[in-house]
């Protein structure tokens, strides 16, 4: 069920005047694309592929 707000917030902006989606993860990772399915896959794979994960 829904609960109080947390800091685990993922955001996708559809950039006005374009067909572009801009994704912003709570870790600060960003990405642009044109396919919401692919965008959520990248987003919710956090931290994998978000640049900050330990190698």
């Amino acid at each position: 069920m829904s609960g109080p707000p947390t800091t685990e917030v993922y955001r996708i902006d559809w950039v006005p005047g374009t067909d572009t989606l801009h994704g912003l993860c709570h870790c600060g990772a960003e990405r642009s694309g044109q396919d919401p399915v692919e965008m959520w896959e990248w987003m919710l794979a956090h931290p994998v592929g978000h640049g900050a994960e330990p190698r």
Binding site: M1, S2, G3, P4, P5, T6, T7, E8, V9, Y10, R11, I12, D13, W14, V15, P16, D19, L21, Q34, D35, P36, V37, M39, W40, L44
Partner: protein, 355 residues
């Protein structure tokens, strides 16, 4: 088919629907009988199947706070315990029906179908405007012959207003205006915002607010998965924005509330409410908003009935195609799948996987 998230609160009825007549609703495939206790005034929810021969208890009657089965008279108290059987003194130890946790809040009756040990009344999401005297609310409920996932899809993507509800609540700007989508994963909330700076005023708002020209129209969706959907709608003449101090008294606010309650795999209850903070005592506005919104809701009902019928004839694994307008709906589907999977613990039957 979207799997059910069992360990969640769901709206079963409006409080005003539950009284001294037995009310039957099927929630997450479970038939439930509701009534209001004479003694405490609280709502009782019992499994709507007599333990004797499975006769629906809603076809029986109340005797005080006890339910008497209409077939052979097995009688149950508010906890579902059988307290009387005909013709004999010994009541079998297993003679009881399930009782379900209930919370009555913000004009809704919420029920918990999953593991009762996990039911936290404090976790019922709020829709305070529904019981706030500062708002005037109209509402109703329409059953839809479609899986609940189709209703979630419908509500998360309001671009359909332009096409399905054109001339009612839709104008060209809705489908044309980009959205912002946010998922608060920890809280289980999806937010979709669409702010139209300069839009045509659809009849729904023109006739209720009296605004004649073009408008600034904001739609801010807050979906508390799985059941509660809030649409904060702000309407004002073009260019009228909230003041720097947050004062927004020059705008009209409408809270559009939905409760999306899965009934069976292929049926959903669509509870809808429209609350306004203007013309609160104007009966004409009340009647207009009720009738007009019901027409809009029925446009969705007809469309989803048709869509589900069409999907039922599709071979398994049919393809869909998602574009930018689907960003919010896709986020909601993901959260629902996660909640359903979490509910599929050992004590709960495993729901069929989403496909």
């Amino acid at each position: 088919m979207t799997a059910f998230a069992r360990n969640q609160w769901y709206v079963a009825a409006y409080g005003r629907e539950v009284g001294r007549d037995l009310l039957g609703r099927t929630i997450l495939n479970e038939p439930v009988a509701f009534y209001r206790s004479e003694e405490t005034g609280t709502v009782v929810a019992l499994a709507d199947r007599c333990v004797h021969r499975r006769f629906p208890l809603t076809a029986g009657r109340l005797d005080g706070d006890r339910v008497v089965c209409g077939y052979h008279g097995f009688t149950y108290d508010t906890t579902g315990t059988c307290v009387y059987v005909p013709g004999q003194k010994r009541i079998p130890r297993t003679a009881r029906v399930n009782s379900y946790p209930v919370v009555e809040q913000d004009s809704f009756v919420w029920v918990w179908i999953g593991d009762p040990a996990l039911a936290d009344p404090g976790a019922v999401p709020r829709a305070k405007h529904l019981a706030d005297p500062g708002w005037t609310t109209v509402g109703g409920m329409e059953p839809i012959d479609a899986g609940y996932g189709l209703l979630v899809d419908n509500l998360m993507d309001l671009s359909h207003e332009t096409y399905l509800h054109g001339g009612y609540i839709g104008t060209p700007e809705v489908a044309e205006t980009p959205t912002t989508t946010e998922v608060d994963e920890g809280a289980g909330i999806v937010r979709v915002s669409r702010h139209m700076d300069d839009a045509e005023c659809p009849p729904f708002y023109a006739r209720s607010t009296g605004i004649e020209g073009r408008i600034t129209r904001w739609q801010d969706i807050e979906y508390h998965a799985p059941c509660l959907y809030l649409l904060h709608s702000r309407i004002a003449p073009v260019g009228v924005l909230p003041g720097p101090d947050g004062d927004d008294s020059h705008a009209f606010h409408v809270e559009i509330t939905y409760a999306i309650t899965p009934s069976t795999d292929g049926h959903v209850y669509d509870f809808w409410c429209v609350s306004r903070d203007f013309a609160q005592d104007d009966e004409e506005v009340t009647t207009f908003l009720h009738d007009f919104n019901r027409t809009v809701v029925m446009q969705d009902v007809d469309a989803l009935n048709l869509l589900q019928k069409a999907l039922d004839t599709e071979p398994e694994g049919y393809q869909e195609l998602s574009i930018n307008i689907d960003t919010g709906g896709l986020a909601a589907r993901r959260i629902l799948a996660r909640l359903a999977a979490e509910g599929a613990g050992p004590s709960v039957p495993v729901p069929a996987p989403a496909r």
